[in-house]
């Protein structure tokens, strides 16, 4: 078993009347790519800022590598942060920015320069050292921030929505690069995001935050395929829940069930139900959303409730799928893709 890089014990934080973090216990292993996923205001950034030392917890404990750091200032912790707005020093060159942490730690100048250049090369920014941050693009700034945080070889790297300001193409590219860099340097990454796809793409494990608490911790597959609470089912992936009457009728038992949209096939109403391996339900197509590579069908079930089904456009064109609007269909999915969602507390 690998050691714990970060250990949080009953961590709480209130700002005046409002509770931002309402009791969190978490263990993050050494060398792990760990994501904190949640909507804005769910407390994930506050937890990150408490690990970095920018906020002090109202109560609870923070351990870094087995050492209690709860009362320590940011400059006393072996943790570096990549900020959402990058927080590059505008009056310094790129190289000076990257070397700043080393300079503060009194690393001799020649070594400092070598390491800063190496760090810039690692994020593919050779030759940019003399420029000012103001003259770089968003993606380049992001990588300078990454180089600056990595050059000191911290035990843990905290990333606060670092890809939020980038456009989609660049974001997807950076997701792959970030993961590759993390594998290369072997440092524990704690990544805060509200983008479920980002979290699923990069993480070894994910903690889903809601209203200052953790709803579920698990691998991307566990989170996606076996959501532990209705909130997780709704936040990660498309909300597709069967509840109450419709659950009883379609699944055959009471409770709340989750089915992922891409598992559901849209068939003609007259199609034979392929039981007993499959669940099936009839309904009317309320809306058709053409997505290019796929189409999303919103179907109002006869049993009550609404399910979303996602179909790849393998052979259908946009006109074909548009014709589905208002028609009667039969939805069918394999029983093993139906998951019972535990009842909320």
């Amino acid at each position: 078993m690998e050691g714990s890089a970060i250990r949080l014990r009953d961590l709480r934080k209130s700002f005046g009347e409002t509770t931002a973090v309402a009791g969190i216990d978490l263990d993050i292993s050494d060398g792990e790519f760990f994501s904190m996923l949640g909507p804005s205001g769910s407390g994930k950034t506050t937890v990150l800022r408490m690990i970095a030392g920018f906020e002090s917890p109202t109560s609870g404990e923070i351990e870094l590598a087995g050492q209690e750091v709860t009362g320590l200032a940011p400059f006393e912790r072996d943790v570096h942060t990549v900020f959402q707005d990058y927080a590059l020093f505008p009056h310094m060159t790129v190289e000076q920015n990257v070397a700043y942490g080393l300079k503060v730690r009194k690393v001799p100048k020649p070594e400092r320069l070598v390491r800063a250049r190496k760090a810039l090369a690692d994020v593919r920014l050779e030759g940019f050292g003399r420029r000012r941050p103001g003259r770089l693009s968003g993606g380049q700034r992001q990588r300078v921030a990454l180089a600056r945080a990595l050059v000191g070889r911290p035990r843990v790297l905290l990333l606060d929505e670092p890809l939020g300001a980038l456009d989609l193409k660049l974001r997807e590219q950076m997701q792959v690069e970030l993961k590759a860099i993390q594998r290369e340097v072997g440092i524990t990454f704690v990544f805060v995001t509200h983008d479920q796809e980002e979290a699923l793409t990069m993480s070894d494990r994910i903690a889903v935050f809601n209203q200052g608490r953790i709803e579920q911790v698990g691998t991307p597959a566990e989170i996606y395929e076996r959501p532990a609470t209705p909130f997780v089912a709704g936040f990660v992936g498309t909300s597709n829940l069967l509840e109450g009457q419709s659950a009883r009728q379609v699944v055959g038992a009471p409770g709340t069930y989750s089915i992922r949209p891409e598992k559901i096939r849209v068939l003609k109403e007259s199609a034979e139900a392929d039981e007993p391996e499959h669940s099936t339900a009839t309904g009317t197509v309320a809306e058709v959303v053409y997505l290019g590579d796929a189409t999303r069908f919103l179907v109002d079930l006869d049993a009550g409730g609404r399910l979303t089904a996602l179909q790849q456009n393998l052979e259908t064109s946009s006109e074909d799928v548009a014709a589905y609007r208002g028609t009667r269909v039969r939805l069918q999915w394999h029983r093993r893709h139906t998951f019972k969602v535990p009842d909320p507390r």
């Binding site: 920018f54 590059l88 020093f89």
Partner: protein, 296 residues
């Protein structure tokens, strides 16, 4: 055409607005004419007249201006010991006032911009500005009272076995520092207030203790604003002559020399008057290198 027919149907005001919208150059020239005229005729014009008249001389019996080209006045500026002394003293006073203002303004601005609770900040800024509401003369005479023999300064320093500075060069520097301090505090306050908190976090995150963060991040980022404030304090001090007259005792600055020459030797006064203009232009050029002018 339809467009003209439509145009004819509209009110004159709308037609004018439309014309202006279609002709951006016309719009620009209308906007700029008045201020440009003001600048060119009143300001640059009077400066040119000043500069030209500095090359004239006077009839030494009648004090009448003789319009004969000569560089004697400028020659006298650099060779007459009194003139040289006064010029250097004036620049020295302006620099001293600027440094004092910066040293006092920084902690004040740091408090109003970053330490005070956000809801109090606008109020504190207003408080800093209130001295500017009072008349310049009232404030300088107040300082005359404070610094006079047996005045407030003497009374307060007496328990320590000291006495106030009295009237003189030091008194002039103190009064000028008081007068121009708000012009230094405001730009520094603005710069400190706009300093992103994440930069301070980033510095601490990378291991920088508060003193290092201040030296390496806060100070360099606020320095252009200090330079911007210094443009005010420096040029206002260099041009002042009333404060010196009231609290400066026998001290003379350039302004006083201009004032005393204006009746007897107008060209000499003009030559003296060009000195602060030149010094301030040089100062502005020096400050431009720090980026101060873009943060004004």
């Amino acid at each position: 055409m339809t467009t003209t027919a439509q145009a004819a149907g509209r009110s004159p005001v709308r037609r004018l607005a439309g014309t202006l919208h279609r002709h951006p150059r016309l719009r620009l020239s209308l906007l700029l004419t008045a201020p440009l005229l003001w600048l060119a005729v009143l300001y640059l014009g009077s400066l040119a007249v000043l500069f030209v008249s500095a090359f004239w001389t006077t009839n030494s019996f009648t004090s009448e201006v003789v319009k004969v080209w000569s560089t004697d006045n400028f020659h006298a500026l650099f060779t007459t010991p009194v003139f040289r002394q006064v010029i250097l003293r004036s620049i020295g006073v302006a620099l001293a006032v600027t440094v004092l203002c910066a040293v006092i303004a920084f902690p004040v601005a740091f408090y109003t911009a970053r330490i005070a609770k956000p809801k109090w900040r606008p109020l504190l800024v207003v408080a800093i500005l209130t001295p500017l509401w009072a008349s310049y003369l009232v404030k300088v005479y107040a300082w005359r009272l404070i610094l006079s023999q047996g005045g407030l300064a003497d009374w307060m320093l007496k328990p320590f076995g000291m006495s106030g500075p009295g009237f003189g060069l030091l008194a002039a520097v103190i009064a000028l520092t008081y007068l121009w301090l708000p012009y230094m505090i405001l730009p520094i306050h603005t710069a400190l207030e706009q300093l992103p908190a994440s930069l301070l976090d980033a510095s601490a995150d990378l291991g920088g203790r508060p003193a290092r963060t201040f030296r390496s991040v806060v100070l360099p980022m606020v320095l252009p604003s200090v330079a911007a404030g210094s443009v005010f304090t420096f040029s206002l001090s260099l041009g002042d002559y009333i404060t010196v007259q009231i609290v400066g005792g026998k001290t003379q600055l350039i302004g006083n020399l201009v004032y005393s020459n204006i009746e007897l030797n107008l060209p000499m006064a003009a030559a003296l008057g060009t000195v602060p203009v030149v010094v301030i232009v040089l100062y502005l050029l020096a400050m431009r290198r720090t980026g101060a002018l873009s943060s004004l």
